[in-house]
Amino acid sequence: MSWSGWFNVSGGAAALRSPITAIARNPNHLDLFVTGTDRRIYSCWWDASSGWSGWFNVSGGMAALGSPVTAIARNPNHLDLFVTGTDGRIYSCWWDASSGWSGWFNVSGGAAALGSRIEVVARNPNHLDLFVTGTDGRIYSCWWDAASGWSGWFNVSGGAAALGSPITAIARNPNHLDLFVTGTDRRIYSCWWDASSGWSGWFNVSGGMAALGSPITAVARNPNHLDLFVSGTDGRIYSTWWDAAWGWDNWFNVSGGAAAPRSRINAIARNPNHLDLFVTGTDGRIYSCWWDAASGWAGWFNVSGGAAALSSPIDVVARYPDHLDVFVTGTDGRIYSAWWHQSEQVRLHVKILSEPTSVTRAAMLQGMQQVFASVGIDVTVASVETLNLPLLNDLDVGTCTRGNTTAEQNQLFANRNNAGANDMCVYLVRSTVPPLNGCAAHPAGRPSAVVTSVASQWTLGHECGHVLGLNHVAPTDRLMMGGGTWNITNPPPDFVQSEVNTMIASPLTQ
């Protein structure tokens, strides 16, 4: 299984909805920070060599219940923490491998509403930039530089936001910063700083709006691209992107996702062509979905049955590209973690002779990805190709039995551009002769299936299940049910463990 179950981290607890901050100073180490139920600031760590430590109070620090503690590792042997203290002043302390934890100090006289998040960015290892909404509702910044120490606070380009509004900052490159915030008029604003030109003015991002104080999540998959995520005024999860070549795109709803207003959508780019999102849904369950450059957006799925209070933030860390650690305060106020490790993958090459008419191609792929992901098998769409073969669009599949193929199937399945020996090719045809929704019969050495235009959302996964060695079953809530995937009950359909074992044993599961 790719996703682990949830476990309580070293007995830790916090007020409902408390954000857990996790940071990986190196791939074999995690540090966590949280404001505990007694308002003291706690940390614990995980190390690959020793496992989880116990929780300890960081240098006597305290903050209001639920206050976010932000952390940054300027280098692998150094941590800087920031928090709004119980007196509304902005505090920092640091840990260094050579000297341990420092005491807390007020940063340049700064103050903010209780519970305000202090955003921090390290454009380079010797420089920090901080951002916060001040007690007067204006957006402030200050910086620390190894050469000059802490600067004073200054208002960023006249910007303002509701008290406590989090500011999101991101450095696409060491000489550039982009800021994002929900303004006092609920419109989503951005401005930037560039070493060559200084601070720009604020501008509304593609007409976007959100509830006052809504956090905007920003990810830079590469230095010329930004992806933003927010829970909109209608409680739906929205995204937009900026690309250096095209500018800003329009906002769009991510795979039908929804969350309570002001929910933080946590996003991470494990690699430049992949995004993973995490959010607490409107039903209090913890959801994830992903975007991949090859296949687009997947559907949302519940992470290992996890649940949390509405609007609870889910923090996520990728210690390396094939591993995610997620952290949340659960519905019982205990601090939980789960992890995902990419271990199994089926690679699909989609060959289009006819687009489906009964459901969309995207729905078919999402359906398959959803069901396979539930048992820890990632379905990667490795390529998509259109084939202009009108005489094979209504394909003779003969008896459609394992190992028996027709001349037309053999001719079609010879089209395997981009596909490795253990990659599966799926051919979307208009119909088959005789009429079927799909057929998984294929010649040896060319793992393939056809799916017709009248297929259901689950037929693609069903046929690929056959290619992976599965047979029909009777229960109507299973993907491999023989009574027709249009008639599946209690969707999404399931696999049983013996089926998972068969698929994992297949050389096509890589």
């Binding site: 005489l391 209504d394 208009r430 119909s431 005789p434 009429p435 046929e463 027709g484 008639n487």
Partner: protein, 150 residues
């Protein structure tokens, strides 16, 4: 006699064994198959039309004829394909009609059936298709199919 919903349920599978289903349901199912073709739902209608041909009962050619006039390409493809299971004198007109279909896939499947059914009229029609069809690949296929076998 199987009822309409029984037949619909048998057809609404991802994969079907038509010869086995034809044996199980028999000619008694032809009225239900005709009704399902007439319902105009392409997923089930295409399967109903094809099964009617495989059953090869007294009213099979009427069901296939109905399917050949469907507004859904996939149903007309099924009609063209299943015609080969029926006597040539019953379905030659249906196949000839489908060889003039506006859809290239339907014409292609009808051409393949025409070659199997044989008969001078169908062979003439194949030769005309080899000369005149708008789709180059289908002209080539028709030319191959029009060649005398053996």
């Amino acid at each position: 006699m199987p009822d309409l919903e029984d037949v619909r349920r048998e057809l609404d599978r991802d994969e079907l064994n038509y010869p086995q289903l034809a044996r199980e349901l028999g000619p008694e199912a032809l009225p239900q198959l005709e009704a399902l073709v007439a319902e105009d739902e392409p997923r089930v209608a295409s399967k109903a039309a094809y099964l009617a041909g495989v059953i090869a009962g007294p009213t099979s050619s009427r069901v296939v004829s109905l399917a050949s006039d469907s507004r859904h390409d996939v149903v007309r493809v099924a009609a063209a394909a299943t015609a080969t299971a029926l006597p040539a004198d019953e379905v030659a007109g249906i196949v000839e009609h489908l060889m003039a279909d506006p859809d290239v896939g339907v014409r292609a499947r009808a051409a393949r059936s025409a070659a199997q059914l044989e008969g001078d009229d169908l062979r003439d029609r194949l030769q005309a298709m080899a000369r005149n069809d708008d789709e180059p690949a289908l002209r080539e296929l028709a030319a191959e199919l029009a060649e005398p076998s053996g």
